[in-house]
Structures are given as structure tokens and as C-alpha cells.
């Protein structure tokens, strides 16, 4: 037995003392030595950190075939098999940069991302809520960004010379029809979705992904919050109503609901309005959200219901004593179900279904009319990351819209109907190739088949971003975008072609921790716009054309001044259209050449108060004057639009917020345009009436209370 044991013992002794020394250096691709790199023998204690010049040296007791590993943040791990047999080894290592989200160049042409707060973003979700003048309206806040034109009488987003209906809204990737609430003629409407529901917002002013179709000028992509973490109840008491919300959390899911009632009557009795209300708007809105984690998948369901009613008198321009009542009842339902999961083999799958229902019942004098739009959108998308740098995503979708309108025509004593049912089947594919941390390209295409036209189309999309230095980056985006003609025309003429826009965008941006600078130039060409033939509104076709071009600047800084965050955006727009009843190409009435916004937010710690100021300027807009000759079409211009809004949020306790906001504190008499009488007066002139703000100011007061076991929670993110 001794004979057996002896060699074993000798072996043990030898193995104990035969150390191997390993020397070398770790450098990056440029040959610079990398300090602090962890160099080790896998699954052992042995290893070291590289010194300041990237060199290393250590001894190991490990033997035979092992794996040497070198790791460092921001670099791909290095691995090499080594044979350890007591002889000194020299190993020189080159680490390759890892393409990671934090450092990598991202395509920024045309898009403003708010949210995903881990990435450097231009806007944060909270910004939407705390921008003065926006009164917590998503569109209101986005209207302080470059690329938007202020069209104060609508409250909607108008992007780069595009009409209001060219900007489409998506919630969790699913289309939303009628995203704005109803409003009286020439008064601003509010978005139906409150910013607190979303963790991230991506506002694209052009050149967006092939995933988003049926949007000519802009895609507003809202991503709803994930599962809530805490039970809480929120109560809001507003100058125009009240709301109550509750969130309940369980193991892998959460549900929340909110009911809001607003009635503008007390407010409008108090502050004089230019609208002759019979019943000011009253609305009952309810939203519910449900979240459940299933395995590694996430299921989200969201529903929104609202009922709004109002009535008012429209006064004749020719004789203001003559008036006619206008009654509107709006019923809106929106539901959205989405699911996202990771499949085996690195595949990701997401899909969703949305349903929008919007009905307006309108009574003008004794003539009733109604309008209903129902839309269903179903989509499935798969994506996969290959080799961490090559990303593909592809999907299919169906958008079905059913639009019907009827109107009692009292001159012919008949009810007239119009409508359409349109089904668009779309599919898209896109690849994103991250060549390295400095260069990324995205190529894609979108195919659509339209059931009304029996036509199919293929639209290319491409973008590229390049970062030459450490911070600044250039991006370029190109794409062809299409959208069905507006409902009012398509319902009468099913043969109208898709309206099309071609975007070219060049962007440069520098984002550091607390400062952002962006400059962007673009050209957009329109084709296939609705156009009256021979100025006859019953003969319409798709021969309209147009262009929009311009440049935009954005600067945001929350570094220079302590507790102060401000941004300035400027947009220059040159646009003309030859569409609808235009006799010549002209600047449309919603376009303004210069738009400027300055947003200032100051948190005064001693007062526990945030004060916000927003100044907006829009240069004069054209308006149609029927008293002018044909060659003077749209040559008259309104005065410029200017507004200074203020908001103050006061946090006396961490569960209580008092909020006050007021628009147009300088009481400027803004004129958005002129309406003309349909009939001329005694002198053969058409008299005009200015389209003005419904009131000089909009004053809003709110008290927000949060009840939760956790003391550090309040509604600040909801405001």
C-alpha cells in the first residue's frame, strides 16, 4: 500500500508548489493600456487588476488547461485557453469595445424621446407635467419642442407644415383614433390621455420607423407604465372638477382605475368667456389599467371611456343678434391589450389589439347630424438580436376603420349619408446594424395593401447615425410616409389616393449629462393631397402637392444655474401647398414661419415650490379673406401669437401638492385668424370676425392628495 501512497503524496507536493506566472498587458483597439481590468483564471481565485499602464502579472496554482479571462466595464470579455505547467506565460490582450446602450450612438434624426430615463434623453416624463402653459396636456408640452407650430385655436400638434390630422398617436404600439377630446369651434381641445399613465414618450417629427404607418408627418408613441409597486389612492380637487384614483398591487400584477368628472360651468360663470355657452362642457371620464406578469411576459390592458356634452350659441357674423344653437354629445371608448414576451433562441415577441370608438351627435339649430368612427388595430411583431450588434424586427398588422356620418339637410328635407370601411393590411421589416459605438444604420421597408383602393404600396425607410468625436453626433433619416385622405373627403370619394410625404432629415446633437444642443434641418415633399378640381367641391381628386422645409434649434440646460432647468426651441418653417380649394400654391393657414418657446423651471428649496414659466411666440399666420381677389389668396396675415404662462407647484407635505397655473398672464389679445360671413353685406363686402382665445386666461387650481403607506410617494409624477 505504501507503494501506492508515495507517488500520490509526491504528486500532491509537486502540484502544490508548481506555480505558473502570467505576465502581459491589456490594451484597447487603439493600443492604449487599460487600467483596472480584471485578469483571472476562470473559476479560480487567481488573478489581478491591471495597473495604470494596462500591464499585469500574477501567479497561479492552477494546472493544466484553464481559461484566462479579462473583463472590464464597457468592453467585451476576453477569453483564451491556456496551459499552465509552471512555465512563465506572456499574454497580451486587446479588448474590443462593447456596444452598449449607454454609450452607443443612437438615431436621433426627427425624434424626441422622453422617458427610458436611463438613457440620455431630451425630455423626461415629468417634464410633460411640469411645463407651464401645457396644463398637463401631452400635446401642450410637446408644443414647446422644435418642429411644432402653435395653432392655438385647436390645441393639437401641427408638425413641420403638416395639418393636425397628420400627427398620429400610438399607445403601446397600437393606433389611437380621435386622440383629442371634443371642443367647441375655435377652442383648443385636450388630449384624451393623461401624461401620468406613461413611463415614456417618443415624439417623432419625421423619419420614423417602418413600424408606424398611416402617419404623414408625425408619430407620437406613448408607452404605458409597467406594473405598479405600491397600493395607493390619489384624490385631486380641481377648479374644474374632481378625480379619484386607486392602485392595487398583488404578486405579479397590479390594477388601477381613475374616475374624473369635470364641469366648466362654475368656472365659466366666474371668468368671462367669449363663447356664448348654453351648457359649458361637462365630462365624465374613466380609465382603467391592468398589468400582469406571466412567466417572462408582460400583459397590459388599458381602457378609457368618456362622455362629454356641451351646447352653445353661434352668432351670425353679419348680424350678431341672430344666433343658432349648437349641441354636441361625444361618446368615446378606447381599449388596448398588449403582450410582450421573450421566446427561446433570443427571439422577442409582442402583439396587441386596440379598439377605438368615437361618436359625435351634433344638433345645429334643428338639423341633427352625427358621425361615428370605429377602428380596430391588430399587430404582431417579432424581433431578434443577432451577435449583439445586428437587430432585426418585423411585423404584420391590420388597421380596419369604419366611418359613417349622416346629416339632415333642411333645404332638401332629406337625411344624407356618407361613409367608408377601409381595411389596411400592413407588414414591415427593419434591421438595425450597430457597426460600432460610433456608427449605426437602420434600414427598413413598409408594405401596405388598401382595401378601398385595391392597391398595394412599398415605402422605404432608412436612417444612419455617426459620432465622430466623444459627444456630438450626426444623423440622417429618409422615408416615404402615407396616410388615407381625411375622413370628410374619403367618405364621399372612396377612390381618393393615399396622401404621401417624403422626408429628408439631417440632425446634429450633443447631449451631456445636463445639457442638450440640437440642430436639425429637413425637407418634406407632399404628393397626392386632396384637391378640388376646377374649384368645384363636388369634384375632388388627389392632385394636391406641397412642400415644407426648415431648420430647428434646441438648447436645454439644467447645469449652469442651480435648481434651474430651462430650454429654448426655435423652428423655422417655409411651406406651401396647392391643395383643397387653393387656386395657387400658398402658405396654409395653420403654418407660421417662426416659432419660439422658452421654458423655465425653478425649484425654490426654501419654499418647497417649483415655479414654471413658458413663453411662446409664433409669427403671423395667413388667413383667407374672401374680399380679396384670387391672386391675393391667403396673403393677409394675423398679428403674431405670444403667450406667457406661469405655474406654481407647492409641496407643503410629501403627500400633498397645491398647484396653480395661468396662461397668458400678460393678457395679450391673440388673434388666430378671421372668419367671414358666408353672405356679403349691403356694400358687397364680406364682414369678418376675429378668432380669438375663448378667454384671456385659463386659470387652473388643483389640490392633489396621495394616500399610501409609503411616505415618500406623492402625485408629483402625475402632475
Amino acid at each position: 500500500m505504501k507503494k501506492i501512497l508515495l507517488p500520490v503524496l509526491i504528486f500532491l507536493v509537486i502540484s502544490g508548489y508548481a506555480q505558473t506566472r502570467i505576465n502581459g498587458t491589456v490594451r484597447d483597439a487603439k493600443g492604449e493600456g487599460l487600467p483596472g481590468v480584471n485578469v483571472l483564471i476562470r473559476d479560480s481565485y487567481d488573478g489581478t487588476s491591471t495597473s495604470i499602464d494596462g500591464s499585469f502579472s500574477f501567479s497561479t496554482d492552477e494546472k493544466d488547461a484553464r481559461i484566462l479571462v479579462a473583463t472590464s466595464v464597457g468592453y467585451k470579455p476576453f477569453e483564451r485557453p491556456v496551459t499552465l505547467e509552471g512555465q512563465e506565460l506572456r499574454i497580451d490582450i486587446v479588448l474590443r469595445e462593447e456596444v452598449n446602450q449607454l454609450d452607443a450612438v443612437v438615431i436621433s434624426a426627427g425624434s424626441y424621446t422622453a422617458g427610458e430615463e436611463r438613457r440620455r434623453t431630451v425630455l423626461k416624463p415629468l417634464d410633460i407635467a411640469t411645463t407651464a402653459g401645457a396644463t398637463a396636456d401631452i400635446a401642450g408640452a410637446l408644443n414647446t419642442l422644435p418642429g411644432t407650430q402653435k395653432v392655438g385655436e385647436t390645441g393639437r400638434l401641427f408638425v413641420r407644415g403638416g395639418d393636425g390630422n397628420e400627427a398620429r398617436t400610438f399607445v403601446d404600439g397600437m393606433l389611437v383614433l380621435s386622440p383629442y377630446g371634443p371642443s367647441a369651434p375655435n377652442t383648443p381641445s385636450r388630449g384624451r390621455f393623461l401624461p401620468f399613465m406613461f413611463k415614456g414618450t417618443s415624439f417623432s417629427t419625421g423619419g420614423y420607423s417602418a413600424e408606424y404607418g398611416q402617419a404623414l408627418s408625425s408619430a407620437l408613441v406613448l408607452n404605458s407604465k409597467d406594473k405598479a409597486e405600491l397600493n395607493q389612492t390619489d384624490i385631486g380637487i380641481l377648479s374644474v372638477g374632481a378625480d379619484v384614483a386607486h392602485t392595487q398591487v398583488w404578486g405579479k400584477g397590479s390594477a388601477s382605475g381613475k374616475i374624473q368628472y369635470t364641469n366648466l360651468r362654475p368656472y365659466m360663470d366666474f371668468i368671462r368667456q367669449r363663447v356664448d355657452w348654453i351648457n359649458p362642457p361637462a365630462a365624465l371620464e374613466g380609465t382603467a389599467a391592468f398589468r400582469q406578469e406571466i412567466g417572462n411576459g408582460k400583459l397590459k390592458a388599458f381602457a378609457s371611456l368618456s362622455e362629454t356634452d356641451f351646447s352653445l350659441y353661434n352668432h351670425s357674423i353679419l348680424d350678431p343678434a341672430l344666433k343658432q344653437s349648437l349641441d354636441l354629445a361625444n361618446r368615446y371608448r378606447y381599449g388596448n391589450l398588449s403582450y410582450k414576451t421573450e421566446l427561446a433562441g433570443g427571439w422577442g415577441l409582442r402583439g396587441g389589439l386596440s379598439y377605438s370608438y368615437n361618436r359625435n351627435d351634433i344638433r345645429q339649430g334643428n338639423s341633427p347630424a352625427n358621425e361615428t368612427e370605429k377602428g380596430t388595430h391588430a399587430k404582431v411583431v417579432v424581433d431578434r438580436t443577432l451577435f449583439s450588434q445586428f437587430d432585426v424586427h418585423a411585423g404584420m398588422e391590420v388597421i380596419d376603420r369604419d366611418y359613417n356620418a349622416s346629416r339632415y339637410n333642411d333645404t332638401i328635407n332629406q337625411v344624407q349619408y356618407k361613409g367608408f370601411r377601409e381595411t389596411i393590411a400592413g407588414s414591415f421589416a427593419e434591421s438595425e446594424i450597430q457597426v460600432n459605438n460610433r456608427l449605426v444604420t437602420r434600414l427598413g421597408a413598409r408594405y401596405e395593401y388598401n382595401s378601398l383602393l385595391h392597391q398595394s404600396s412599398l415605402d422605404p425607410r432608412a436612417s444612419i447615425a455617426f459620432r465622430p468625436g466623444r459627444r456630438g453626433q450626426f444623423s440622417f433619416a429618409y422615408g416615404i410616409f402615407r396616410q388615407s385622405a381625411p375622413n370628410a373627403y374619403l367618405s364621399l370619394h372612396h377612390e381618393l389616393l393615399q396622401e404621401r410625404a417624403e422626408h429628408f432629415i439631417l440632425n446634429y446633437q450633443i447631449i451631456t449629462d445636463q445639457q442638450t444642443f440640437r440642430v436639425e434641418a429637413y425637407l418634406k415633399q407632399y404628393k397626392g393631397l386632396v384637391k378640388f378640381m376646377n374649384s368645384d367641391p363636388y369634384q375632388i381628386g388627389s392632385a394636391g402637392t406641397g412642400y415644407a422645409q426648415g431648420f430647428e434649434l434646441f438648447w436645454r440646460d439644467n447645469k449652469t444655474l442651480k435648481n434651474v432647468d430651462y430650454w429654448i426651441s426655435y423652428s423655422y418653417l417655409d411651406t406651401r401647398r396647392d391643395y383643397l380649394n387653393y387656386p395657387v400654391a400658398a402658405v396654409p393657414t395653420f403654418a407660421s414661419a417662426h416659432n419660439l418657446s422658452a421654458v423655465y423651471k425653478h425649484f425654490i428649496t426654501a419654499l418647497k415650490t417649483q415655479v414654471g414659466l413658458t413663453y411662446s411666440y409664433a409669427s403671423p399666420r395667413t388667413y383667407y379673406n374672401p374680399n380679396l381677389s384670387r391672386d391675393q389668396f391667403l396673403t393677409d396675415k394675423t398679428p403674431s401669437y405670444q403667450d406667457l404662462s406661469v405655474n406654481i407647484s407647492y409641496l407643503p407635505r410629501n403627500w400633498l401638492i397645491l398647484y396653480v397655473s395661468c396662461t397668458n398672464v400678460l393678457s395679450r389679445n391673440n388673434i388666430f385668424g378671421y372668419e367671414y360671413s358666408a353672405l356679403p353685406d349691403g356694400n358687397g363686402q364680406y364682414p369678418a370676425r376675429a378668432v380669438r382665445q375663448p378667454a384671456d386666461h385659463f386659470l387652473f387650481l388643483g389640490v392633489f392628495i396621495t394616500m399610501s403607506k409609503n411616505k415618500s410617494v406623492n402625485q408629483l409624477p402625475n402632475l
Binding site: 483596472g36 487588476s49 407635505r653
Partner: protein, 218 residues
């Protein structure tokens, strides 16, 4: 020799081998814990973190190396000046703690460390992250104290959090300071019989005591 004896020798050898391994783990851990506590620059912390990462790679069932790796990363996050960098360190810290919690789900030090990571996350961008991450931090501290009400670090960290919040809202810091005092009592009472057990945090609590005294004077 009989077969039994051979077996016995082999078994003893195996046991001593295990024992030696255990001893090595302990020794290497102790020397690196010493290093991480003494570190003051990012380089020194990185070097200690690298050592803990190596140990964690070799000792796949031990939570301690992951815990100290997280601690070192949090310290680097505090030292780093750029927000993106801070986040990178905090991401690594969170990944290590999450791994450790899977190994030792009942260890109260781990959720305490998780809360610490969330709390530092808040300081990177308080306006945006305050609500979400202060809530997460509080939940993690609550978890830690549920597992071990005597954990002085969990208590001291929660006191820091409450003090900061109370200070922000100008409300009374009394309860935060009281919590900090009870943490200090627990620090004094905690006997470090296990050299691998976390022992940091007392000076942080002492620092808060000074702040509390200053606030009380005003």
C-alpha cells in the same frame, strides 16, 4: 493496510481539503474586505471589486463576495462624476446583489444593500427618479428589517433616506434621527464574531448624528 484505513485516510484528506478551501476563502475574503474598507480612490475600489468578482467566480455558492463586489461598485458610483458612469456601477452592483439574493434569500444584509443602490440611484437625478427609486429603496429596507430587525445597516440607511426626505419637505427630522440613534445602539451591540460579516456603516450613522444635532440646535 486494510481497505478501511485507506478509505479513512482518503476521507480525512478530502475533509482537510474542504477545510483548507474554506480557510483559503476566509483568508482571501478578510484581506480583500480590509482593502475595500480602506479604499479611497476609484482605482483602489476597482481592484478590490475585481478580487471579489474573482472569488465569486470560484465560490459559486457564497453570497459574501457578491455582496462586497456590490458594496465596492456603490462606492465607485459615489465617487464617479458622470451620471452615465454612476449608472454603470450601480447596474453592476444591482446585478451582483440580485445574484446574491438568489443564493441567500434570508440574508438581511442583501436587501439592505439593494436599498442602498436604489437610494444612490435617486441622487443621480432626484427630480426624475425620486418617486420611483425612493419607493424601491424604502421597500428594500423594509424587507431587510423584516428579515432581521436588528440589522444596524438597514436601519441606518433607512434613517438616511427619511432624513433626506424630511429635510426636503422641511418636516420634522425627529423620527429619522431617532431611527439613526437606534441604529447606532445596534452598531455598538453588534459583535463581529464572523469576520466576513459586513461591519461598515457606523461612521455614516455618526455623521448623521452630527447633522441631527445641528438641526436640533437651529
Amino acid at each position: 493496510m486494510k481497505m478501511k484505513t485507506i478509505l479513512l485516510i482518503l476521507m480525512l484528506g478530502a475533509i482537510s481539503e474542504i477545510h483548507a478551501g474554506d480557510e483559503k476563502f476566509k483568508q482571501v475574503m478578510i484581506s480583500n474586505i480590509d482593502l475595500v474598507y480602506k479604499a479611497s480612490t476609484i482605482e483602489e475600489y476597482q481592484s478590490a471589486v475585481n478580487a471579489f468578482d474573482r472569488i465569486a467566480g470560484a465560490e459559486k455558492n457564497r453570497w459574501e463576495p457578491l455582496y462586497y463586489s456590490a458594496f465596492g461598485n456603490v462606492m465607485m458610483a459615489l465617487k464617479a462624476t458622470e451620471a452615465g458612469r454612476k449608472d454603470e456601477y450601480l447596474d453592476l452592483a444591482l446585478a451582483a446583489v440580485t445574484k446574491a439574493i438568489a443564493l441567500a434569500p434570508l440574508e438581511s444584509e442583501l436587501p439592505a444593500m439593494e436599498g442602498f443602490i436604489h437610494m444612490i440611484r435617486v441622487t443621480v437625478d432626484p427630480g426624475t427618479r425620486g418617486p420611483e427609486f425612493s419607493m424601491k429603496a424604502n421597500m428594500a429596507y423594509g424587507k431587510a428589517l423584516q428579515l432581521n430587525p436588528e440589522n444596524p445597516r438597514a436601519l441606518a440607511l433607512q434613517a438616511q433616506m427619511e432624513f433626506g426626505t424630511a429635510n426636503f419637505f422641511r418636516s420634522s427630522t425627529a423620527s429619522a434621527c431617532q431611527m439613526n440613534e437606534s441604529a447606532l445602539t445596534k452598531f455598538a451591540g453588534s459583535n463581529a464574531e464572523n469576520p466576513l460579516a459586513p461591519a461598515w456603516g457606523e461612521s455614516m450613522a455618526l455623521g448623521l448624528r452630527v447633522q441631527c444635532e445641528q438641526t436640533a440646535k437651529k
